[in-house]
Chain length 194, copies 2
């Protein structure tokens, strides 16, 4: 039995994703910017495929991840997030961003309580994200354990009208103490075919 079938059965929270930048996919790539560290090469389109059937396709670059359990979120935050988190694929959400990041070895060497302290009490990562919900839909994928070049892939979807709010959200996060532990970040902006 392939590992993916086992996952289907026991791990409903773990959904694999494959982002392939190349000639295909329903998202047109507008820009690819290196925020920190090396960028990713440009391509025309991005194919986002979620689920067990995300096979490799010919691509300029491919990144993979998997949804997983929360790592820092506490009970009241979980309830607050679940109350306002929108679904992906809303008709008006024609803009998207894929932001792969990698954190430093120093970050990962910190104990759990110190990472939580930086992540939320000093950087307000969760509280800041909440302020832009439901305008900016967001899905986090974990890549670190997969041996991928990034630790996380975050996927955002928003409408034209909410584009300024999205810019504000990412710029606030990049000013935080947490972001000092980011040693590679690429920002891919996209527009859906409509």
């Amino acid at each position: 039995m392939p590992a993916t079938e086992k996952n289907d059965r026991y791990r409903p929270d773990m959904v694999p994703v494959r982002f392939a930048a190349g000639a295909g996919g329903s998202w047109r790539i507008l820009t690819i910017s290196a925020v920190r560290g090396d960028s990713l090469p440009h391509a025309a389109r991005l194919d986002r495929s979620e689920g067990r059937t995300a096979a490799d396709v010919p691509a300029v670059w491919t990144v993979r991840g998997v949804t997983s359990h929360v790592r820092y979120v506490e009970r009241p935050e979980k309830a607050a997030l679940e109350a306002v988190q929108p679904v992906l694929g809303r008709v008006q959400a024609v803009r998207a961003a894929l932001i792969p990041i990698r954190k430093t070895a120093g970050w990962w060497a910190l104990p759990q309580d110190e990472r939580r302290e930086i992540f939320e009490r000093r950087s307000q990562h969760i509280a800041t994200g909440l302020r832009y919900l439901p305008a900016v839909a967001r899905r986090l994928y974990h890549s670190r354990e997969l041996g991928e070049p990034f630790d996380f892939l975050t996927w955002f979807e928003y409408s034209e009208a909410d584009a300024p709010a999205f810019e504000e959200l990412v710029s606030r996060l990049r000013e935080t103490e947490e972001w000092r532990y980011v040693d590679r970040e690429v920002d891919v902006r996209l527009m859906r075919d409509i």
Copy 2:
């Protein structure tokens, strides 16, 4: 560049492991017991291979994992663990156990603070493990994100003289509230060729 090379460079804390049960390897399998859920088939020997070169070998069964950053350990606990954690491969440690476990979907749906509460304040997982250090050497591998059948693989090494202490350690952990969230556990006991 293969993903494993990227990992070597940026993720010194992440060491892959492959356990293959079959005809080879330096550990003789004494018993394989299902503590909860399905067991694993019997085999004569276990081959434990750590690092990037852990290729597949012919085997009755193979499980894989990767070392990673701590998920619940706080600063004082980290310091206490690092002060007494022995290395693997001690000459006198001729006994070993490989204990793969899987936790329930309910466990993974809990927020971080509630998992920590159950894990340490109510179940004293870290404190209990500490009490048996340095007698029982221990290494934890994460398997969940790899799509493996188990969430964790824990590898223990101890001397003949410390075998009773090891039995006490595992039986204490299995009595905890945390263990109510374990829905599959296999216990593989081994002896090294000396």
